[in-house]
Subunit: 377 residues, 2 copies
């Protein structure tokens, strides 16, 4: 059993792929990076900046949005796009991951997870069916199946149990999604922790069920990068070539290069905005800590060759001052600068794949990072 | 003794005036509202939004900037405009007011005020001469004399002592300013608390010294509006008609209408940004509290007839959600919406004075505020 396909593969270079995914709210160019709009906003950015930075699609957190302002309320207001003013594609997660990390008194059973809201203590039940219902109410373009993600390291038996439960929840999610409007998509999520055999079993089970796209979940939770890459290498060959592949919660620019090289098409991560709020800038020269005193008297921009205006105009001394003073504008500028860096990286990745020069692009990019920041003045 | 004049009166309507003030960094249309850029940034706004909202001039806080990043450092980086990226006119206060309200272990003498920095505890001396030096290092277009502002209510003797000290400091400030480049301005500050006679003595003393412009200080510190207006009425008739008049730290839109009607040309206030951070929006319908549950399901914008895009597009429900969730974007949008409201008000005030219809404009504006917000849905 397979579903309608909205993904078109436009080119490959080794395992790396570039393509386009057509959603009800527009086209997503892949490989794609999705900024995380936790509670209906990308922290520190106006939506026009999200768009101008080159973002095609953003991620919304079902857990946060169902608690506040509520899925039924957002539906009544016309869905996430009308509510927030972001007119492009949106992917929503299932809510399951955040229930396990944020909610209180959570209890997991075969049928659902029950928990108390961290906002008002209300008792809430989230089942695979309710998760799909909530994501439909939000009006997302791409819904994710509910899954259980174990923390690593974990016992083999626990990893296997969670993976099998996730497969059964995937089946229920798919059934619940059957009435979704044409064009909307549901992605299955491969689990299995750091156990190759379980990862393969999970991927095969998902492919048998048939989804619009496939995610690799339960990684980027503190394991070494080598483990993450090994798990991608187990899963990807099992997935259908003509479906999009999404590595959840990843990651650093370096993680993204490695994962694209292994055939991954989509990413999401809070890192560019979270690190921006902590005074870190992602640049061609690697990550730069603006709190560092070396920037205090430096009139030079972060990168005078950057295509992004804020990156090539604001003085390091000013950014340093804003960060040290705790001025909101510091977090705003660095979050925007980081999202722009990530989206420029994705743009360059896509172009290099189209031209068959992905490998040399990666080498050049890594060499730039390795050189480190420009010398202090 | 008078100084070169950079202010041109373009029209009057009763006591209300409209004009233009030419500074080294551009022209300021009056009546003018100056957003407050405490530590080199307007909280929650990008500089392009400050400009797009119709701002001609911003205020920088000498106290904050001299402590961090330091006046000599800003001078080394080319001055405030180059440092911050705000290319327009800047007025700086003297630092005296914030020393008295924020610094620790402060001690006032005839010559100077000494205090400990609230950031690192360093012992600092601020004299009228050093205040001018710092403001010159910052590169501000309009410097303010150092003064002493007493809290109201105050003893008559204390109010008189502070007013006389402020006059002597005004004289010293003027002497220290003599070497400033052509085009830069120094404003004197009338003190005298809520005592008409002291206000008049202060104003006469300042006019005798001769400044590029005259400020009324020590108001908007908690006294009734009627007291504030009465003090303006004492001071303004004494001031030269051809010099700009600046009411410091004021205020609400209603305060601004009243003060313009009494001949004031310039204002500054943290209210639009501070109230924005607390969920309040200034609108044609008066102030609106976005935390209020009545907005939770309201898809309508704050004011569908507003010329400012964010005011006429974002749903009240979305703003309510952002405020309730503590999302940065809520503070960003409301701060921007409020600055835009203030600048639109100033724009309309200037136009109505030019057309000789200021009084009817005030009546219409007050009637709109009095009607209150649109009915809930």
């Amino acid at each position: 059993m397979t579903s309608a396909n909205h993904f078109e593969l436009l080119g490959t270079d080794g395992q790396a792929r570039t393509g386009k995914l057509t959603t009800p709210h527009g086209v997503v160019r892949t490989p794609a990076f999705m900024p995380v709009g936790t509670a209906g906003a990308i922290k520190g950015l106006h939506w026009r900046e999200v768009r101008d930075a080159g973002t095609d699609i953003v991620l919304g957190n079902t857990y946060h949005l169902m608690l506040r302002p509520g899925a039924e309320r957002i539906a009544g207001l016309g869905g996430l796009q009308t509510f927030t003013g972001w007119q492009g594609p949106m992917l929503t997660d299932s809510g399951g991951f955040q229930v396990m990390s944020l909610a209180q008194l959570r209890k997991l059973s075969e049928s659902a997870v029950t928990f108390r809201s961290h906002i008002d203590g209300a008792r809430i039940e989230l089942s695979p069916e309710r998760s799909i219902e909530v994501q439909r109410l939000l009006g997302s373009d791409i819904a994710m199946q509910m899954d259980e993600c174990v923390r690593l390291p974990a016992e083999h038996s626990d990893t296997e149990r969670a993976m099998q439960l996730s497969l059964r929840w995937g089946e229920r999610s798919k059934r619940a999604f059957e009435t979704a409007p044409e064009g909307c998509m549901l992605f299955g999520i491969a689990q299995g922790g750091d156990v190759p055999e379980l990862r393969r079993t999970s991927a095969r089970g998902l492919v048998e069920l048939g989804f619009h796209g496939y995610a690799i979940g339960g990684l980027a939770v503190g394991e070494p990068q080598s483990v993450m890459l090994a798990m991608i290498e187990e899963v990807v060959p099992i997935l259908p070539e003509r479906r999009p592949r999404y590595l959840m919660g990843v990651g650093t620019p370096e993680d993204i290069l490695e994962a694209v090289a292994r055939g991954v098409d989509m990413f999401d991560c809070v890192m560019p905005t979270r690190n921006g709020r902590h005074g870190m800038a992602f640049t061609r020269f690697g990550q730069i800590n603006l709190r560092n005193a070396r920037h205090a008297d430096d009139p030079r921009p972060l990168d005078e060759e950057s295509p992004w205006p804020s990156t090539r105009t604001y003085a390091r001394a000013y950014l340093h001052h804003l960060v040290r003073s705790g001025e909101t504008l510091g977090a705003m500028l660095l979050s925007e600068i980081n999202i722009a860096y990530y989206q420029r990286l994705m743009h360059d990745i896509r172009n290099s794949i189209s031209r068959g020069s992905f490998e040399s692009f990666c080498e050049r990019t890594r060499a730039d990072w390795a050189k480190g920041d420009i010398a202090p003045r």
